[in-house]
Amino acid sequence: MSHAPNRSQHRRTVAAVAAASALLVAMSACSTPAAGGDPAEAAPGVTDDTVTIGTHQPLTGPAAAGYSSISAATTAYFAYLNENGGVNGRSIEYLVKDDGYNPANTQTVVRELVQDDEVFAILNGLGTPTHTSVLDYLNQNEVPDLFVASGSTSWNQPEKYPWTFGFNADYVTEAEALAQYADDEFAGKSICVLGQDDDFGDEFIEGLENVLGEGSLASVQRYSVSNQDVVAQIGAMQAAGCEVNMLATVNGFTALAIGTAAKLGYQAKWMSSSSGGDYVTLAGFLGEAAPVLLEGFVTTNYLPYAPGNEWDDLFRQINDEYNDGAPFDGNTVFGMSVGYLFAEALAKAGENPTRQGIVDAITSGDLVGNGLVPLSFGADSHAAYKGVSITTVADGVQDFIGVTYVSDGSGGVEPFDGDAVPLENDGLPTS
């Protein structure tokens, strides 16, 4: 055994260990959690003249075609807002990251937004499976997780997730409203459901059964977003003699389901969650046959997307001016409504917004929004809309039919005849 190499080995080991220890001590400040947090210090993402927020959206992948226009619309609304002075003198910077509707990507891009870009809040993260994967992370890090673009009831857990707030009317309420409508209009028909194989589908089916009774669905089919083929499911529904088909599907799969049924020569009444029920988007998928295939198509909405509505008019103007005149559809209204609600919450959070401050502003219950039914945010509710209005398609035009339901809080819905929120101050929130 020669000693020379061992000694040099030894020396190197000592040096390395010493270096490592030195690093441990010297650099412990670098990655140490922020101590306490000085209240006078500005919140992350907030400077004297900007507020930076971020989102995760499916700009590519299976859900892109149905939803990629939402963040563009939100960005356009913020451009309009910033041009008109922003909120309390701060302009809003909206960072949009693509997650391809893949939960694994969502985790990465959201961490990037929070840790690297140091956003003030995450706004309108889209998707049930995707956002579920960052729910714990955002709440552990106490990042405001505002107005999630999904109707899952997971977002409405104030005790467990105090930083998370939903935006969509939840799927249970939506399904209850559709089931009630189907029960009233198509009594005695055989009702079936095609649902996404995650919480979206589960909760929608739960809502249907709340109203129609357990086991009353003639056929329950599930699909997976990663498999672009629903022939088996639609075939099974046809074989089961389904006459009214409920869809808990994203836009692309609503179109796929209806298109597949048409190919199979199968005619039925189609009713869809608002998440996959935007006529213009569906028409983009279905092409020239859309007016025929979608005639009588029933879905819900809780936002003022109707020709002639004052909000609708304003959003169309903003879309022309700040969004290069992109096709105007339900997603545009959705995206801009989200932007408006965030601006309202930020304005209510005061001159010097903090993360806790904006959460307090939302739970105060003072937010108004721009919905057809009142917002239900409060100390013990993190859900935005607990009601929906029914829409149908007639001659290629999707419009409300004047039937609005709100949740009765006990597994059913009741008719609502209150007024929609009127437009104020050109859609520029004031504190």
Partner: protein
């Protein structure tokens, strides 16, 4: 297998058969123990350095570091599988997923049973290793009977079937949404010192260190020797008394345990496992990492892991800084990294057939070479995250494990042509 019945005491004489003894004899004065202890010391130092490095990084960089460590587990297993036995697996992502699901399901069961903290982590990790070992064993049994494209095909099927499998058994695997697990925070004792991302990086580094050190020990020991013997000439290995089938299955199982540990770490870091994280593209990227880094080299696997984790992010950051139109940026997102990986693979294999590792300064590559006279065999010390110490004087039977001489190298370019 029939040989077993004919030979009453097959084990001992075979492992110490002519092949191994002659090789051992060719390393004068090199007892089997010293390289292992030195390897462990090196692994310890490197682990400490890595842990020290986490103090230099901000939380997001630590998160990326943890991803690299998790990926390193899988690529280390894969590089040994391809480099040492010549079995090409395109389905290592599925083996990672097996580990991830094993970890998540065990963690959730333990959470329900009221177990948490370190015991939950350790038991779940063991479950992950068991799940991936089982899948790897089954796959290895098939793999040992297959060669070339047929083997690649079988492993490929596994990763393609993953989303469908999770969708069909969505009661357990929760389809595309995947399985979520409870959050593991920083232990109270460390809470004032480090942030959660750094803690996760530590865990990832420790698991990776354990896995890779184990692989290095395996590779330096008699098992590694038998693997190389089987890779280079299966027939003559059999003639020497090496049970080729068993060696291949062992290699496959070891490799999948490493991949499963990587999947478990990913699950630990992100608190979830879903089929979307283990796509075909990711599976092929693991192979790309191994080839770019240098086949058969653990250092190469580490470098390759860095490349596949960081490159997409670097490219995205770069395109984000370019101020492109929204349409162009959207078209580049996701597509550009694929293009760059393709170009990188071509350039690396053309310029340095031994991978990035071979492009490193020689001093760095051969740092771990024993100073007093290189052993004639290339089975000398290999440190965790260190290169294969390739000796030019390697015996003819065991040429250096570079891709062009390895039988496994042939199918690889075809994967990039796809």
């Amino acid at each position: 297998m029939s040989a077993r019945t004919q030979t009453p005491r097959p084990q001992t004489p075979r492992t110490a058969g002519p092949l191994t003894t002659s090789i051992r004899a060719a390393r004068p004065g090199a007892s089997a123990r010293r390289p292992t202890s030195r390897l462990l010391a090196t692994a310890l130092v490197l682990t400490l350095v890595a842990i020290g490095a986490t103090f230099l990084l901000d939380p997001y960089r630590n998160y990326q570091f943890a991803l690299i460590a998790a990926t390193f587990c899988a690529t280390a297993g894969l590089t040994l599988l391809i480099g040492l036995t010549g079995q090409l697996s395109l389905g290592h992502a599925a083996l990672m997923a097996a580990g991830g699901y094993g970890y998540a399901l065990a963690a959730n069961a333990l959470t329900d049973a009221g177990v948490d903290g370190v015991p939950r982590f350790v038991v779940s990790l063991a479950a992950a290793a068991a799940a991936s070992a089982l899948l790897g064993l089954l796959l290895g049994l098939a793999a040992a009977r297959l060669k070339g494209p047929y083997l690649s095909g079988v492993t490929l099927v596994l990763v393609i079937a993953l989303p469908a499998f999770t969708a069909v058994f969505s009661g357990v695997f929760r389809g595309d949404q995947g399985v979520q697990i409870a959050y593991d925070g920083v232990p109270p004792a460390l809470r004032t010192l480090i942030a959660v991302e750094q803690w996760q990086a530590w865990v990832a580094i420790l698991v990776a260190a354990a896995v890779v050190t184990w692989l290095a020990v395996l590779r330096n020991g008699p098992a590694g020797l038998r693997m190389r013997a089987v890779r280079d000439d299966e027939t003559s290995a059999r003639l020497q008394g090496v049970r080729a089938g068993r060696v291949k299955v062992l290699a496959f199982t070891a490799s999948s345990i490493a991949a499963g540990a990587g999947g478990a770490v990913l699950c630990f870091v992100t608190q979830s496992v879903s089929p979307g994280a283990y796509t075909l593209a990711f599976s092929l990227l693991l192979v790309v990492a191994v080839v770019i880094g240098g086949l058969g080299s653990l250092l190469g696997a580490f470098l390759g892991s860095i490349v596949i984790v960081l490159l997409p992010w670097v490219i995205q950051t770069a395109t984000g800084a370019l101020d492109l139109s929204a349409d162009a940026a959207q078209r580049l997102t996701g597509n550009l990294p694929v293009l760059v990986f393709g170009v990188l693979l071509i350039v690396v294999t053309a310029a340095w057939p031994g991978g990035i590792r071979a492009a490193l300064p020689k001093r760095l590559r051969t740092k771990r070479m024993p100073r007093r006279g290189a052993p004639p065999m290339q089975t000398s010390t290999v440190a965790a995250a260190e290169p294969a110490t390739v000796t030019p004087t390697a015996a003819p039977r065991h040429p250096d494990p570079e891709p062009r001489t390895s039988p496994a190298a042939e199918p690889i370019p075809t994967t990039t042509e796809r």
